[in-house]
Amino acid sequence: MNKELDNKAYLGMELLRFTTAGSVDDGKSTLIGRLLYDTKSIFIDQYEAIVATSKRKGDDYVNLALLTDGLRAEREQGITIDVAYRYFATPKRKFIIADTPGHIQYTRNMVTGASTANLALILVDARKGLLEQTQRHTFIAALLGISHIVFCINKMDLVDYSQEVYDEIRVEIEGFASKLDVKDIQFIPVSALIGDNVVHKLKNMNWYQGATLMYLLETIHIGSDHNHIDCRFPVQTVIRPQNNAYHDYRGYAGRIAGGIFKPGDEVLVLPSGFSSKIKSINNFERELQEAYAPMSVTIQLEDELDISRGDMIVREHNQPHMGQDIEMMICWMNQKKIVQNGKYIVRHITNEVKCVVKEINYKVNINTLHRIEEDKDIGMNDIARIRIRTTKPLLFDRYTRNRITGSLVLIDEGTNETVGAGMIL
């Protein structure tokens, strides 16, 4: 942990969640190791443990990947099986890295890591340029609605820190990315091994006038990543204290999914359609003058209404879609393939309903982005466009408009496993 952190600064810090993508040889572990090492976030006992393990396994170098490989099977096989979360802080921000493994079940893991990220870090080997897998990583990051993608052109030391090589790759990636919907794309030439342009700027690439990776991570604007326009308050649970002091209290507890709520606001409760006014918004004993995503609060209304989990508090003139036929992109996450006309359980915000898969429109070739209309065979790690019909209407927005009200998962009725991740179109 960094010594310069003082209490007050720490209390005012923002949280940035990012995910990393790259294959084994791109130097992803080295880059993460470099970020942690140069921000003094690796502890002595952790470091000594991996030095000892590296030595025992006969490695020539200290394998920083061992920091993230937490399971016995991962260490034995030298592979990362599952998403690992790592934490570090600088005096400006706190970071959560969702580190996704390079090969096995890549799509499933990257989709999982990307689902909560503000930013995706995609590694590109300067010697190889834009590969199929870079396209795949970029496509998944865009599909999951990540607002910021940073391409780290790594191993610049192996191409003599050449500006031409960097420019060529950059143009190529820009061409590909223009087909996707991403707000903010950045490029940085780095050498994770030497530590150039990661946390510190060395003198090898004087032609590069841009920021270091760390500076970018510390300053990139994430305040507007949440939807502050469409008021959406999904009710998680109703709080009715059984004590005398709060005898008539009825509070609706939930996490704001969008928009800004204030006491006095006229609101509408869905699906019932009753209107009321916000009486108060609380975080524990503290009364709030306004509340917005991603805050968890308790709202009281002026009128006594029958509201329960699954209902949503919104504004009359800005309502979500309500319906039973839902189109989505789905990432399949289970060995058992999707079954056309099969029945699944849907979890969407605070609702759980059943559905049937009505139609499989096409599968996406995630390397080329081509639609394969004749292929309806959707298995593990595939991404497809489908339409489901639910037993009850859901209240939803498009995923691109709101990641919370626009996402859902499908669950197998028999095994209870989460089998699919859906992004509503």
């Binding site: 502890f43 016995r72 999982t112 805050m295």
Partner: protein
């Protein structure tokens, strides 16, 4: 222009409260695991906030190894009274008396591993379908792979290679009869976040966390409190040291650090300057590289 952003502590708090409310909504009979350590104190504080002005809708469950620091029990009892919660104690001593487990022998004997049986027995006895824990992903590398909603089979076991994918803020708590869940609302918090939150929220913690004088001895580079539960080896010498505890667990496996930190601010400065992890003082993790993973698979916290 007004900036609609929140600080990282507010975001972590909002996330934890959301998770606790999901537990209440998705399970019929959940319990909150309470050890009297800082992490479980923070989780119970978050539970108070999540359901205010109602009381915490879960009983607090303490798995008591019988090898406690008296300060922990004193704190536990006064804290429970203050927040008006229900306390359930699962006793390792009882599990030993009933022959469910056998006490370890030798110098490093600890009841830490035995706790798992008591925990699972207590979960079964009270038919809990969910146990909320204060584990954090930054604590230990097996825990870094843990889900917020972590499934346990009918034997209470964790299968780390076959976990359910967890996306966005959607938590799948569906289970078959006899299975249960472990839920970890502060998964994304670091040791520093915990201390900053305790400071910010003025949360009370046991006196063991602050510097004090204590009879202690050194074993394998770790300073251990001299208690009736510990047997000295030849050459180990009891001395009075000025120390404090960075984590609090069973007295036989929790090491102390030499420290003069007497306030939360001083502790924060110490944590910020620390070059070893907090579990570096835990004898229970030093048994092998996969000590935590192995215990967790069996159903440990």
């Amino acid at each position: 222009m007004i900036s609609y952003s929140i600080t990282h502590l507010e975001e972590l708090e909002a996330e934890a409260i959301y998770v606790l409310r999901e537990v209440f909504a998705q399970f019929d009979n959940a319990a909150l695991l309470f050890s009297g350590g800082k992490d479980s104190i923070v989780v119970s504080h978050l539970a108070r906030k999540a359901f205010w002005p109602a009381r915490i809708p879960f009983p607090l469950l303490h798995i008591d190894t019988g090898h406690n620091f008296p300060e922990t029990l004193t704190f536990r009892d006064s804290y429970i009274k203050k927040i008006g919660a229900e306390l359930i104690v699962g006793s390792v001593q009882e599990s030993i008396d009933q022959g469910r487990v056998v006490e370890e022998k030798g110098y490093n004997a600890s009841r830490n591993v035995l706790q798992t049986v008591t925990l699972l027995d207590t979960i079964e006895k009270y038919k809990f379908d969910c146990a909320i824990g204060g584990a954090r992903r930054d604590e230990e590398k097996a825990r870094a792979k843990e889900r917020f909603f972590s499934h346990r089979d009918e034997f209470g076991q964790w299968d780390p290679k076959n976990q359910r994918p967890e996306l966005w803020n959607i938590f799948n708590g569906r289970k078959h009869h006899g299975e249960h869940f472990r839920v970890f609302p502060i998964s994304n918090w670091t040791e520093m976040d915990i201390w900053q939150y305790i400071y910010h929220e003025k949360i009370e913690i046991p006196s063991l966390y602050f510097s004090h004088q204590r009879k202690s001895f050194e074993r394998d580079g770790v300073i251990m409190a001299a208690t009736e539960f510990m047997q000295l080896k030849d050459g180990e010498e009891i001395k009075v040291r000025t120390l404090r505890f960075r984590t609090i667990g069973d007295a036989t496996c929790t090491g102390a650090i030499i420290s003069k930190a007497n306030t939360i601010e001083e502790i924060i400065q110490e944590v910020a300057a620390a070059r070893t992890t907090e579990r570096g003082t835990r004898a229970d993790d030093k048994r092998s590289e996969a000590a935590m993973e192995d215990r967790k698979k069996e159903g440990y916290f």
